[in-house]
Structure formats: structure tokens, C-alpha cells
Symmetry: C2
Subunit: 879 residues, 2 copies
């Protein structure tokens, strides 16, 4: 009677225990949990899983194969035997849609009442089925049922759902049937008909717009479909020896190793999740249902050991007996993820490498995300600005304009605004707007409500269950009950997801950075064998110090021109640009560059310091025409001749500055600037070595930008070498410098073998020791997209699915990635020891890092802030 | 005694006749001519050629191998036997430097005097040797000798060189020796020492800056070195039965089949070329030296038959005996090149294919270059503006500012000015400035003077030998002798190279276009087997008509937006851009596009008409902010709200418009515009078919610009197909349209196989039938160079040799060419029938055309004006 086929996996009761866990791809996450629980001796209500592979069949045929329908019937009969009761009510919990109590009808409802001795429960179950079946299978709006419910409650003078008696529930069932009539729909009385319709509804739900949107936002790809679980109902609403709950094996906000969850006596699971009744903390269950609670703790420990991870479980107690409904690795905050990973290693539950995989890049990002600073929390603006307090749904600080609908949130976000989405409660339909919001505030729902769970997954601040407020979507207002203060759409508020506080003011935020266990964990990542190194893009001493603190193994890109925008320096730079023949200004620039470079060498003592020569077009440094007046003209060497100065600025205008006179082109046209910079770099290194002769180590790497042809490279490399050797000789110091280039012009990728082959005619040595892929510019040129102007179509492209990712965030493997790979192969063919790296934004993007690792690059370089994320990603790839 | 080795090729006298002509690469052009003349029985003064392969040896060793020096001595002895005279004087004419009369000294000068019975001649030869040896071998400035010469002439009261007697020439020799003393240099009396020093000087001259510059300007590459010819002197200055001359076997200006040249009695060759004495027309030689002239005509005919081309020859008559000194294929004007090529075929001297190779692309260009219009020539400005008349050195019209030095010419050109370079006479040192000038004017020198020969080679207008004027480089003035009118540097004049006239006014010019034999010749080019087709880039009916007249096989690129700038249309286009929701304007645009497209179909009746969908960023069509005022704002739908309109314009600004919202991105974001254009194209085709049901043929090809990814292509192609099929169905006409794309974004080249594989899911047919390489944009993006902004460094790059060619003129084979080749291979691998072509500027560049032909592309498309050049180039490749 245990029917197993490639489409059907039975579990619980007399189901065979799998020797090999089935693939999550085939049975889904929930199915896998049920299989495993069944295997390791945790009681689950018997049932069976219909595999994901049925989804494409259903999509094509609009039906399932006859053998599957037969298997369904056979399994239902197997369950009837296991549970010693007839098919009366089954549940079908799904990723997207859930239907409970399938099988009830006007006849079996009485049977259920008699079998359980609880008439109220039977009728309550029936009215729930009518509601869910109507909504999920027939598409009747839930609100239509809700209205009837309120009407009956009102008539009965009932405050809560549980206050309704049997007669009122019977009335309600009739009212619900009336909804079907109004809608011209039919509720089938045949239990199998109900079941078949529900199965079809679930498989049909895979391609609904809501499901597609959800997968899009969560970047869920390459799934075969949804699996469908059909399971015996167990009832938490069978009296005070029954109940239901959800829990995490550890605190998902802090990671603390204590059971964390909620339960409700005499309730079904949806009551907890939907946040309609406010549940009790799980620890209190010990008092009320001690045996079930003990079994529960035992089960959860078994699961944590098996899965080597913190578990998120759902359970029901039916007349004292504990049934586990679901288990999965729990979602958690960044702080929690790191604490849990490290604790699991310390507890011997997993290895360091396994622990690495439990932390997601976004968890690390969360630690680097804004929170309110300690000072801000003490400020009057904060303490006196608190208008309401809810539950701390998801930690972090958010400040933004109030919006009331997901659509508004998406629109305002598109306009660049930071918004707080406020809702009575959220539902899966809202995910688009939740994603767009900086923070989420709900009036109802607990710590495991939809809003809180989703927000934690994204690392987005959330205050939930804030019963101090009344939200009116219609009026677009938030009313604070106590004070009658009203906030309107567009008003700016702050929320504190760590405390649940809602503040009327704009509160300053700060970024926590690395703390606690993160450094330990990243240390483990760094130790993975063959791991790609992570360097930082840093332009100044403080940047470099920050980078070192975040664990950067060196500086992969210093954009020297970033030092030019200092207000004291800018006039000098401008004067030089206007009068390049005047060597005084050049000398002045050299002096401040030298001092800056020394700071970098000191901060990185001995690690790579890769300095890119001047890159941007010179006109980027010039004042805008409206800033030019007599004083400025005089300061910049034009006497008081404003028109002449304006004419000079105008003459330097470029149509497409990105592709103009910049990068190595500047150094070729103005070799004195290249010489000056090399002198500054080498002198700075020498200064540090002389100052700290015993401890100082330096490793300057001079990087030539925007190379497109070998002759450009040779021109600049020889000039650099000549100047560097001169300084070495003058200072009588052996400074171990390297020369290399950014590969960011597509043409450079095509001739990389030739660049790698270049040698100095005089000493026969290679002229290029490293390539660093400037994937920002390489993306711009390979794809023909100006990043500055991409907003005109990239959002639309993403929406239409023409682009899967924003190519400036995640490397375009097919195009830009091809160029990187092509170049890397050409370079390595000539010089197997050439250093290969990436220094564009993509160097901090986990997905891109995985791609670069697959090409065998030596390191990535990213902003100091992204270094921890990149270290984690680089380590995880190698596990 | 006839010494031949791999480094030495003897000729003339008892030299062995070669069975196979030696390579021009090895013996040089002059050496080859001497070998051939020797072989076919044309008398040349005996001598020998030292091969170009000695150049790299000399450059390395600073000397020649001992065996070569021995071979030189052996050959000199062989010549002594042949000529029955001792080594007295040899000539060494070279590409760059020539030394005559080697071997003369204080003793042999008397021997020469006795042997020839002409003391004056002997001393004249000696003073010439002293001058040339000093200049070429020792680097003494020619002016130093010139000053002494003028002094002696003045002392003798002599007007011309020939007026000097023996005693004065003896004095002159002493004066010249004095120059050596002043310079601390020595003139060796040993003839062999003289010879060896001259040989070394010639081989040393290969790497002088002048030589390098010459090769650079003339794009002469891959030469091994210079060959050196050593030859018995024959003397045209041995009295009235002697003489020397240069001639072309046909008129090099018009191509007319009559001997064309000049000679001087009692003179040496340099007298003719230098233009110091004004020579006589060659036809008059018949009277003076009839036997020599008859032999000369016979020789020239032999050479023309042998080389199958018009000959440029030099000869000397020594005491009645004719010696041919040099022969080569003659330089000629475009008109002449075409006439000669066709005449040679008609005369049976060469085949059509051979004739094709006698015409260079620049010859065709010349026909398309400006001349003064017939009306202009009759105008008062012209006829009353003539200030002087010289010789018609090289035809064509030029208008420009007067400059007096090659340096000024180069500087002014760099500033974008058109200049006329005026010189007393030009020399090889001047080539840089001559190249930069729009036209050349000299006061001295005949039709075969340096200025005239060089200018004709370049197709540049030249008036030479204009003895009406006095040129002062020092004062920077041109004085017109008769009128005392003075022109200063910067004054604008016009010159007519076809008539020799110099005009004080700015005279309007026109372009002749195809005429006479050019169409015949291009017809031959079109018939070469497997020749690549030439289509035209044409945007309007008149363009298309011009293209068809120039032989275009279709339209390879119609830039539809060029039709938008019409003043009546622009406001409509602008209104649509500002208010895309307003479909009236779109409809209006559709109507005028439809009418334009019909003109194209009519002009091309049945040939390809490839129409690119809207490509430029929309803001290119908007008014500049300073053009916006109330009336404009009202006209464009902003009421009188100027600020609002300015804000809209500002909001559309892009940092790098080349890489912004344009091309297919527009069509994706605004599909209604794509639809509108497709409707206009298909309707226009239908209109023409309905109007002329018996004769009309149409072949519209709809080309999608700026594709970077397959999803972009699929999006637009499906939209186009849907719209096109709709119109076909509505009009009940079978319009055979194609859909394809420009490949101009590097990424598109990388995914060309995927684009070629795309099929319509509905009918399974390929969605892309052609690729057209937009090599302008592909160059911009692959090289990272904005064409608009390239002036900031490309000139410098060319000067420094970082670029060999301007990549926007000649395709960068290594980079951009790689992308084209890569894409073409990917495309053909999927679809062997895919049509591949080029529609960038490079489609009209002969060197690039050769490259595209080597990739197997189907056609190039270029501006109507370049079509003839492209047809010729395409045909020549296949000969
Ligand atoms: Mg860059
Ligand atoms: Mg283009």
C-alpha cells in the first residue's frame, strides 16, 4: 500500500524510509524536510509529495498523467490505513497556496464532529475549507468571505474568532456557500473532486503573475516547478490540549542559542502566521503542554544535528500528541547568521568550511548597513520623537517618506526616494513594494508574520505588529491612537527595526562595520585552499586604513585623481590644466601626491599598493561655467579675463568624455604628468623606507589606464621605468616596483598576448607584470552603455527580462566576461606568472566573484566596505 | 670579368642578360629598369646595382662585407674594359641622393679634358662633383657652394651658368675646395676612395630623418632598404651634339598618346630636373638630334610594350649617341590614368584586368575632387583676378592662405586652414609641407620639376615655373613683377593647376564626378570574378539617384533620421519627442517617412534598400537651450512655459550620448516608433508596387541598430515582422522584405552566432538574414575612442607612430578587424547564407576594402561619392 513512483514520494506513517535523501529540486524544500523527518523518526502527519517535475507536464497538458491520479488515490488509501480513519480532511501546504481540511463536506463535517467529539471544531474547519478552496481554487476574493465573517461576528456580538459558537459557525458556512452562489461558482461535495481541484490549482499557481514576480525579486532561477504536498490534517484547534506553533531553534535576530518561537492554544497554523491572534512565547508551552514540549525540543535538536543548521519548524499538537509539520533552515539576520555559524562550529555540529556556507553575502552586508548611532539613540530627536512602538521585526535603521501601497513604494523608489512602506499587514502580493522600501512598518502580525520574515531575509528594517497605530490605505494616513497624531503620505519618519520604535524625526544613521564573529568567520574564508585574494580600492590614507581593517590584502586600485578634489588642491590642479607649461604647479601637485602615496604605503606596509596613473579627462576638474567669475579667473591665471577663461573651458568640452582624452592618452600627450606621478610614487616609497629602515616594506605597482594598443603601453611603460630607475638610483634604494595595466578597452583584451610579450629592448625584461580588469569601463565599452546614462533604459530592460541583472552590478558573463576570459588566456599563454585581477565594481559582487574565480584570476579589488562580502564569497566558492 | 653576386647586379655593356627579372625589392625600381633595358637591348651606360639587402647589413656593421667591396672594384674594371676608358667618372643616382662624376680629381680632370677635347666640360663636371660630394657625403650645406658660385658669376658678369668659361670654372673649383677647408672637411683625390665614401653615404642615407619622413608621408612600408646604382657617366654637356632630357611616353596630365617631355642641349640631367634652365619640348629634339630622337622613340615603345604601361624615362645624348638612364612607370593624373588604362587595352598592350591595376584609388578620387566650375572660369572674379601665369604642373583647383615654408603649411593645416604653399622651387625636404598644402605654387622649375611630379602623384593642384612672380621666404611676400602687387602670408589666393593661372580672389570650386572612361573602367572592375559588391549609404531620393549614377548596387544604409532635419519636419519630430503620447505627431512623421522611402525604392528599383531604424539619441533633435523662447515653447506644446521646456531638455541630457538611449534601445523603450517606421517602409514599398504594377520591384531590408544582446534583437525583430506581415496582408501584396542588424556594439560581435540562430517561435524561420558591420561605432567602442573627441590625441598618435593610420579612415585590423572577423565566422557557422557587409566609413577606403574582401564579406556600403573608388578597389583585389 506504500505507493512510491518517480512522481510521488510518500512520507510518515508506513511510508518507506528513503536511503538517500531525495533532491530538493524534485520534492521541494518542504517535501525534503518531511522526508528527512520521516527518516530520522520525527513524527509527521502521513502524506506524500507530488514532484516538481509534474509542473512542466501540467503546464503543457493542463492535467496530470493518469498514473499520478491513480497514485494519489492509492496514497490516500494508505494514509487512511495508517491513521485508522477515512479520508476526511487533508492539508495541502504549498510554497504559494495552502488549502487545509480538504475532504470536508456537508456530510463528513458531521462525521468529523462525532469522531473528535468537538462539533465547534468540525464546523470551524469546514468554514475554513470553504474560504480557502474558494480563494485558491476558484479565485474568489478572500475579502468576500471576510465580510460575511465580520457580519456574523457583529450579529453575535463576538470580539474574537474563538467567541463564535457552533450555530454561528454553521450560519457562517451557509453565508460562505452564498458567496459561491453569488460568484456563480460551485463547491464540490466529493472529497476526491476537492483534492484533484486543489492539486490542479497548486500546479497551476506556478505561473501566476504573483509567483513569477516573487521568483524575479528573489532571483530564483532554474527551478523546475513547485512540488505539492498532500498531508493528513492534524488539528491544533481541538481544544486546550491542542495547539500550534512556529519556532526557530535559535534566535533568528541575534543568533542566541535559545528556542525562539510562538504558539497558540486551540488554533490552526495559519492563525499564528497570519498574526490574527497574538501568540504566546514558545517557552510558556513547557507549562501548558510539557510532554509535547519535551518531545518538541528533542525533535528540533535531532533536526539541527541532521541539517547542521538552525531550524525553522512548524508543529501542531493534537490532543497532546506532537506532530512536526515542516522544518527548514531558518532565515536569520546578519548578526545571527554569523553567531550561529561560529556557535555551530564550537558545538561540533559542523566544520569551519560548512559554517562558511551558512552565511550569505547579504548577511555580511547587513552588518555594513546603516543603524542609528549610539548618540542618535540618546538624542532628543529620537527619545522625544518616538510616536509608537511595535515588534522588532527585522533589525536596522531606515528613514524615509511614508507610502501606503506597494505600487507607491516602487514608484517613489524609481524616483530615487527612500520610503517606508506602511501596511495593516503584508502578504505575498506586496513583495515588489517591500523590496523597493527602505523599511517596513505593519500594524498587525508577530515576529514570524510575513512582513518580518521577508524583511529579515532581505536584511531590511521592519517594525511589525505595531498596534499603537491605525493604518488607512484609503485615506493614506497613519493615526497614532494615543495622541491622535496623524501622518500622511510623504511625511518622513524613522523606524528602528531592532527595538520596534517608530520616530517622527529624521534620525542620523551609521554603519557598524565588522564586529563580533565576522572577522573570525572571514578568517576561515581566507584560509580556504586556493581562495582568490581580496584587495581594496582605496584612494587615501583613511581609506587604506579602513581597507586594512576590513581585511584587504592590499590596494588593488588607487585612483590618484580622487586626491585632487581637496579644496586646497583643486585650484592648483586647475592652474596646471590651464597652463601645462608652468612647471611650478606640477611640482606642487607632485608634493601632495607624494605625501598621499606615503600614507598608502604606511597603511599597507609591504602589501601591494596599486596606483593607477591619472585617468579622467582633465575637464572634469574644471569649474562649471556658472562658477567662473573675475576672482576665479584671476586665481587660475587668466587675469580677470572671464571670457577667455570660459572660452578655454569650452574648448576642452568633449562630446563623449568617457571615450575622449583620458587615461594613458593623457600620459602620452603630456608625458611630464606621467613622470611627475612616477616620481611622487617612488619618492614616497623611498621616504617611508628611509624613515623606518627596519620595518618599512613597500610594494608599489604602477598601473596604466585605458590602454588600447601595445604601442601606447610601451610608450608609457618605458617612461615609467626610466623615471622609476632614476629615483631608485638617486635614493640608492632597491624599491621593488611593478608596472602593469588596466584592461578596460575591449581592444586591449584582444591584444593582451601582445602586451604581455612586450619587453624592454635594453634589458630584455617583460614590461608588463599584471593586468587588472577594469570591468566598469570594459562593460561600458563592450556593451556600448554609458553607466551615467543607463537609467534611460536599463530599468526597463530588467523589467522586460532583456537583462537578467544590471550589468554594472553583476558581470555580463556572455559578453564582458568573454573578453576578460579571452584576455586572461592570452596573457597567461605568454606569461604564466602574470598577475590577473579585477578592480571594477564587480570585484565586490559575489556572483561575479564566482565567475572570476572560475577564470583563475588572482584577486579581486573592491571598495573597502565590500571587502568583507568579497572575502566571504571568495571563500565560499572554494568550500 | 662580369661580376655578379647576390649583392651585385651588373647591367649594360658586357653584363650578362638576366633570364628572370630581379625583384624590385632587391634592386630597387631604378635598378630593375636598368636590368630590363639591358635585357631588351636598350643601351644603358654600363654599371651595377648594390642590392637593398646591404642596407640592414650596413645599418648594423656601419660597413659593407669585404666581398662586396671586391665586387665593386671588379665591376669598375669590367666597365673600364666595356667603355674602353679608365675609371674617370661614375654616377651614383639614388632614390634620395645622387652623386655624379665620381672619380674626377685634380689630375683626372685634365685627362677628361683631353679625352673629350672639352676643357670647359671637364672643369664643369669637376665643380659639380665637388659640390655634390661635399653635400651628400660630408653634409656641407649646398648653399655654401651656391654662394661661391654666385660670387664668381657676379665677378665674371655672367647671367647664366653656361656663360662661365674654363678659367672661371677653375676658379670656382678652388673656391669650392676653400669651402671644404672652412668646414674642416677633406675631398679625397683617390677615385676609389670617392666611390667608397659615396656608396657608404647612400647606404647611410636610408635612415636620415628626411628619408624616414618621406617614407612616412608616402606610406612606404616593408622596404628592405635602398639599392645603390653605380654607373658610367655619360655626358650631355659635351657640346651641341649632346644633351639630356626626361620624357613620358604619354601626356601625364591628359593621358593623350603623344610623347611628352623636355630636353636641354649641352646639359646634364640635373639641369632639367632642378628647373634652373628652362628646357625645350621634346618634339623639337627631332630637328636637332634626329638619329638620337628616332632611337629614343624606338626605345620608349619597346619599354612601353615590355612594361605594358606609360613610361617615364631619362636619357642623355653624348656626342650623338643615345643612352637611356632610367625608366619607370610614369606618375599621372587621374584623368590621364584612366585614359591611358583604356587606351592600352584598346591598343592591345594589356588586358582589362591589367588595366585596372594601372589606376589607383587616388586617381579616381581626383576626378571627384574640386575644380573651378565652367561658370567660375568665365566670371570677372576669375578672369580679372589673374595675377600671374606659370606652368600647369598638376591639374585641379585650390583655394587657400599663402604660406612660405613647409612648417607653416603643416601648422596651418593642423589648425584646419586650407593653404597654398609658395616656394622659389621645392626639394625633397619640403614634402611634409607640400602634403599639408591644398595647392603648390613655384616660381621656378618645369613640368618635370620636383614640385610638379610630386603634386601630380598626390593629385594635388600645382602651378610651377611661374616666372611672373618673385618669392621671398624671408619677407614672406610674393611680388608680381609686372604690377608690383604684393601678396603676404595669410592672403587668400586661388590656383588653377590645369592652366597655370594664379588668381587673387576666392574662386568657387566644383566636383566633376564620373566622366569619360571612368565608367568603362569601373565596369571592368565590377566584372572581376568574385568581386565584392559596392552599395551606397544614401538617405534621400537625390542621394540614391547619385548613388545609382555612381554605380552603387543598392543602398546599404539609409539613416532615416537624416530626413528629420528638414525645417518643416523638425518641429513635428520635436513635438513627438516631448509628447510621445500624442499619436498625431507620430502619424505625421510616418507620412513623410513613407514618401521618402518611396523615393528610395523608385531610385533603386529592385535593388537592396537597407533602412536602419531610428538610431541617434532623441535629444540630438532638440533645440539648443539658447534657441528656446516663448514662440518655440508654444509651438512645441509647452504653452509659453519656457522654463518647463528647458527643464525637459535638461532632463534629456546625457553624459555620453554615444553610449546612451539610442539605437534599438529607443525602439524597445518606444515600440510605437519601430512600428511606425516599419509601417512607413512597407507602405512605401506597396505604394510603388501599386503605382507601377508592371515594372516596380522592391527589396526593403530593415536594419536594427545598436544591438548588443539576442533578447534586444528578438524583441525588435518580432515587432518588425508582426508589423510587416500586417501591412502585407492589408495591402494584399507579397513584399519580399528582410530583417537584419548592424553589428556595431562589441558585444554583438561576440554573440553573433546566437543572433544568427534566433528563430521565430511561431514559424521556426530565422529572424536575422543579414549583418552589416557599423565599423564607425564598432571602432569607437572597441578602441574606446569617441570620434568627435579624437582630435585631442589621434594627430599626436599618428605623429608619434602609435597609430599607423587614423582608425576612423582605415580599419584597425588587429582590433576592430578581429571583431568583424570573429563575428563573421560565428554568423557563417550558423547560417552560411547570411549576408555580411560593412556600412561604416571604412566601406569606402581601399585598404580596408581589401581587408573586408579577405574576410569574405558580401559587400561594402559607402557614401555615393566614394562608390567609384570602392568599386575600383574591390575589382583590383580580385585581379
Ligand atoms: Mg576606467
Ligand atoms: Mg552606429
Amino acid at each position: 500500500m506504500t505507493v512510491h513512483s518517480k512522481y510521488i514520494y510518500p512520507f510518515g506513517g508506513s511510508a518507506p524510509k528513503p536511503t538517500v535523501d531525495p533532491s530538493k529540486q524534485i520534492v521541494g524544500g518542504k517535501g525534503l524536510g518531511l522526508q528527512v523527518m520521516s527518516k530520522i523518526g520525527v513524527d509527521v502527519p502521513p502524506g506524500f509529495t507530488l514532484t516538481t517535475t509534474l509542473c512542466p507536464i501540467y503546464a503543457k497538458e493542463n492535467d496530470l498523467p493518469a498514473e499520478v491520479w491513480k497514485g494519489v488515490r492509492d496514497n490516500v488509501r494508505r494514509i487512511e490505513v495508517d491513521m485508522e480513519k477515512e479520508f476526511g480532511s487533508m492539508s495541502m501546504p504549498g510554497m504559494m497556496d495552502t488549502v487545509l481540511n480538504i475532504g470536508l463536506n456537508d456530510v463528513t463535517v458531521d462525521g468529523l464532529a462525532k469522531a473528535t467529539g468537538n462539533e465547534r471544531f468540525a464546523w470551524d474547519s469546514y468554514r475554513r475549507l470553504l474560504d480557502m478552496y474558494g480563494e485558491v481554487v476558484l479565485g474568489i476574493p478572500h475579502e468576500d468571505f471576510e465580510k460575511r465573517f465580520d457580519k456574523v461576528k457583529e450579529a453575535a456580538g463576538a470580539a474574537n474568532d474563538v467567541d463564535l459558537g457552533v450555530e454561528e459557525l454553521k450560519t457562517l458556512c451557509n453565508e460562505y456557500k452564498q458567496v459561491y452562489v453569488e460568484q456563480g461558482k460551485e463547491f464540490p461535495m466529493d472529497p476526491y473532486k476537492q483534492l484533484y481541484a486543489c492539486v490542479k490549482a497548486v500546479f497551476g499557481s506556478w505561473m501566476t503573475p504573483r509567483a513569477v514576480k516573487y521568483r524575479e525579486i528573489n532571483n530564483i532561477k532554474n527551478l523546475i516547478g513547485t512540488a505539492t504536498n498532500i498531508q493528513t490534517m492534524v488539528f491544533g484547534n481541538m481544544g486546550d490540549d491542542s495547539g500550534t506553533g512556529v519556532a526557530f531553534s535559535r534566535n533568528p535576530s541575534t543568533g542566541e542559542n535559545v528556542m525562539y518561537g510562538e504558539y497558540l492554544i486551540n488554533a490552526q497554523g495559519e492563525d499564528v502566521v497570519a498574526g490574527i491572534r497574538t501568540p504566546q512565547p514558545i517557552s510558556q508551552m513547557k507549562e501548558v503542554l510539557p510532554a509535547a514540549y519535551a518531545k518538541f525540543l528533542e525533535n528540533v535538536e535531532k533536526l539541527e544535528v541532521y541539517f547542521k543548521d538552525m531550524q525553522d519548524v512548524e508543529f501542531t499538537v493534537e490532543k497532546g500528541k506532537l506532530w512536526m509539520l515542516q522544518c527548514r533552515n531558518g532565515k536569520r539576520t546578519g548578526v545571527a547568521a554569523i553567531k550561529i555559524a561560529i556557535d555551530l562550529v564550537n558545538e561540533g555540529k559542523c566544520t569551519q568550511s560548512e559554517a562558511l556556507l551558512k552565511v550569505e553575502p547579504r548577511h555580511v552586508e547587513q552588518l555594513l548597513h546603516p543603524t542609528f548611532s549610539a548618540d542618535a539613540l540618546k538624542s532628543d530627536a529620537y527619545t522625544k520623537g518616538i510616536v509608537a512602538k511595535g515588534l522588532p521585526g527585522s533589525p536596522g535603521a531606515a528613514v524615509g517618506k511614508l507610502v501606503f501601497t506597494p505600487k507607491q513604494a516602487e514608484e517613489e523608489k524609481a524616483n530615487g526616494a527612500s520610503v517606508i512602506l506602511v501596511r495593516e499587514t503584508t502578504s505575498p502580493e506586496d513583495v515588489g513594494g517591500m523590496w523597493a522600501a527602505a523599511g517596513i512598518l505593519t500594524a498587525r502580525g508577530g515576529m514570524t508574520s510575513h512582513a518580518a520574515v521577508v524583511a529579515r531575509g532581505w536584511g531590511k528594517p521592519c517594525v511589525c505588529g505595531c498596534s499603537d497605530i491605525v493604518v488607512s490605505e484609503e485615506n493614506q494616513t497613519v493615526l497614532v491612537k494615543d495622541t491622535n497624531e496623524v501622518f500622511k503620505a510623504g511625511d518622513v519618519i524613522s523606524i528602528n527595526g531592532a527595538t520596534g520604535e517608530v520616530i517622527r524625526n529624521v534620525i542620523p544613521v551609521e554603519t557598524p562595520g565588522l564586529k563580533g564573529g565576522l572577522e573570525t568567520l572571514l578568517g576561515w574564508a581566507d584560509q580556504e585552499e586556493g581562495v582568490m585574494k581580496v584587495l581594496a580600492n582605496a584612494d587615501s590614507g583613511p581609506d587604506a586604513t579602513q581597507a586594512a581593517e576590513n581585511g584587504a590584502m592590499g590596494i588593488g586600485l588607487c585612483r590618484t585623481e580622487h586626491m585632487f578634489f581637496n579644496p586646497e588642491r583643486l585650484p592648483i590642479v586647475r592652474r596646471w590644466i590651464f597652463h601645462t607649461e608652468c612647471l611650478d604647479d606640477l611640482d606642487h601637485i607632485k608634493h601632495f601626491q607624494r605625501s598621499d602615496f606615503k600614507d598608502l604605503f604606511v597603511a599597507m606596509n609591504g602589501k601591494h599598493v596599486t596606483i593607477r596613473l591619472l585617468d579622467p579627462p582633465l575637464h572634469e576638474f574644471l569649474p562649471r561655467p556658472e562658477q567662473v567669475h573675475e576672482k576665479v579667473a584671476e586665481e587660475l591665471g587668466f587675469g580677470k579675463d572671464v571670457p577667455r577663461m570660459l572660452a578655454r573651458i569650452e574648448s576642452m568640452h568633449e562630446e563623449n568624455p568617457m571615450l575622449g582624452l583620458r587615461g594613458c592618452r593623457l600620459g602620452i600627450v603630456k608625458p611630464e604628468f606621467t613622470q611627475m606621478q612616477v616620481e611622487a610614487i617612488m619618492s614616497a616609497a623611498a621616504d617611508f623606507m628611509e624613515e623606518c629602515p627596519d620595518t618599512a616594506k613597500v610594494h608599489p605597482r604602477i598601473m596604466i589606464p585605458l590602454i588600447g594598443s601595445i604601442k601606447e603601453y610601451k610608450n608609457q611603460a618605458l617612461l615609467i621605468k626610466q623615471e622609476a630607475e632614476r629615483i631608485k638610483a638617486e635614493r640608492k634604494l632597491d624599491i621593488p616596483y611593478e608596472i602593469g595595466t588596466m584592461i578596460e578597452v575591449p581592444r586591449a583584451a584582444l591584444v593582451s598576448d601582445k602586451i604581455a610579450s612586450l619587453v624592454d629592448d635594453e634589458d630584455g625584461k617583460p614590461l608588463c607584470s599584471f593586468f587588472s580588469y577594469g570591468t566598469n569601463d570594459l562593460t561600458q565599452m563592450t556593451m556600448g552603455i554609458s553607466r551615467d546614462d543607463s537609467n534611460g533604459f536599463i530599468p526597463k530592460y530588467l523589467e522586460m527580462g532583456i537583462f537578467e541583472d544590471d550589468p554594472f552590478q553583476t558581470i555580463d558573463e556572455e559578453g564582458v566576461g568573454y573578453m576578460v576570459n579571452h584576455s586572461a588566456n592570452l596573457g597567461k599563454r605568454i606569461n604564466p606568472n602574470i598577475s590577473l585581477s579585477v578592480c571594477g565594481e564587480h570585484g565586490g559582487d559575489p556572483k561575479s566573484i564566482e565567475f572570476f574565480d572560475s577564470l583563475g584570476l588572482n584577486y579581486v579589488s573592491c571598495s573597502p566596505y565590500r571587502v568583507p562580502v568579497a572575502r566571504l564569497a571568495a571563500g565560499q566558492i572554494r568550500v
